[in-house]
Amino acid sequence: MFSSAFELLITGDPGLYRIIGLSLYVSLTATLIAALVGLPLGALLALKEFPGRGAVIVIVNALMGMPPVVVGLAVFLLLSRSGPLGSFGILFTPRAMIIAQAILITPIIAALARQTIADLWVQYRDELAGMNIGTAGSVATLLWDGRFSLLTALLAGFGRASAEVGAVIIVGGNIDGFTRTMTTAIALETSKGDLPLAIGLGAVLLIIVIAINAIAWTVRRTGERLAGAA
């Protein structure tokens, strides 16, 4: 059963590599975008006191558990021809998939980053105030000095993005050779009864996730040791 997917891998089947490549491209881009929004958002929630901050934190934490299909549906409605962003014509393209996954994981990255940065802020607060560092400078410092812990937040976001199927299938449409990812392919092959291919793709997905985590773990450990953080 396992052999056929690996056969395709080893023989360099272009269709399979396109699926893997698209999956990585969509999920990594979504993680990048979510990081650009979620990290500063998490930092601001950790640093800034404003009315309703507690409520925002609760909401962001709750959004961590958003079902991907709900996000997919919302993005579908936004991007569909009659929707407010319909004129862009990007529904059923990789861009729509990136948007949906970015929305899905931004709360995860923001919530985890907030926790990490709040812990560091307790330590740094007085020293930064004593050096007359403003909010923007403090956020930059905390993001930089917390970078190895924040890697964990990014990994959690990437893990969720690369594993989900509900959002990408709705806004991407699972079009062969264009918007088909590993997870949507697995769902399709399983429903068609082609279990060997589904299992093979699942194994490939697992290996990729483990490899990325291993790289990140090594980077974090080495970096922390060099920076003297651990």
Partner: protein
């Protein structure tokens, strides 16, 4: 933007500071002027740290005014503080100092030289690349002193800088502070160690339970204290 004029004198005018519904500091009037270091002495919990934080501008008085050179709410661009328990950034020793240099926009071409000078000043030459958080407590204290000096302050607040040091290290820190004071930096140092105050200070402020009991030039404070509490504090039997 650096204001053109001076942060001195530092004045407390009818300052009251409350925290947690308690009156922690109650200062009718205090004036810190240019010159030899001022020592703030008093038993644990007297309010020394609170006084320093108000003077640095990290706290705002609940009532009253703190002024720097006659102005209120002057941002601490030319003040620096060494906290009682300094926190090192998760960076190398050199980068901790570099961070402080950057905070006052020191030109980047001078920074390497300044870092080396400052590390040498506090006896940490060759520690450039050591992770700051891996240094011993005493080394971190001295690195924090170098970091506060990196801001080239006009007023330097030091909160019990020698409390965690062994006598030899404490003495070398005192030597550094004397040299810094001679360069024209105004030092405001809190200590419960009268020896440090005697060796360094030009004037001494004694606080107890949030109130200033005596503010005298050093010779007067140590030879003919005006208050009973000052006598008892020097005899080490002034407790909370």
């Amino acid at each position: 933007m650096r204001a053109p004029d001076s942060d001195l004198p530092l004045r407390f005018e009818r300052v009251r500071f409350e925290a947690g519904n308690r009156l922690i500091l109650d200062i009718e009037s205090l004036s810190i002027t240019n010159g030899a270091p001022t020592a703030v002495v008093g038993p644990n919990g007297a309010g020394k740290t609170t006084l320093l934080r108000l003077g640095m501008g990290l706290f705002e008085p609940t009532v009253g005014r703190v002024t720097w050179g006659g102005r209120e709410k002057v941002p601490p661009t030319r003040r620096a503080i060494l906290f009682q328990r300094p926190v090192m950034l998760m960076r190398s020793a050199a980068n901790n100092i570099d961070y402080a240099l950057a905070s006052v926009n020191a030109p980047s071409r001078d920074r390497r030289r300044k870092i080396a000078e400052l590390l040498a000043l506090v006896g940490l030459s060759g520690f450039e690349d050591r992770p700051a958080r891996r240094l011993s407590g005493g080394e971190q204290q001295r690195l924090a002193l170098a970091r506060s000096l990196a801001r080239d302050p006009e007023i330097l607040f030091l909160d019990e800088p020698t409390a965690s040091l062994d006598p030899a290290a404490a003495k070398s820190v005192e030597d550094v502070l004397r040299a810094v004071a001679e360069r024209g930096v105004k030092i405001l140092i809190s200590t419960h160690d009268l020896g440090t105050a005697r060796r360094l200070a030009g004037d001494v402020v004694l606080i107890h339970r949030g109130k200033i009991l005596e503010h005298s030039v050093s010779e007067v404070f140590f030879k003919e204290p005006r208050t009973e509490e000052a006598r008892r504090f020097q005899a080490s039997d002034l407790l909370i």
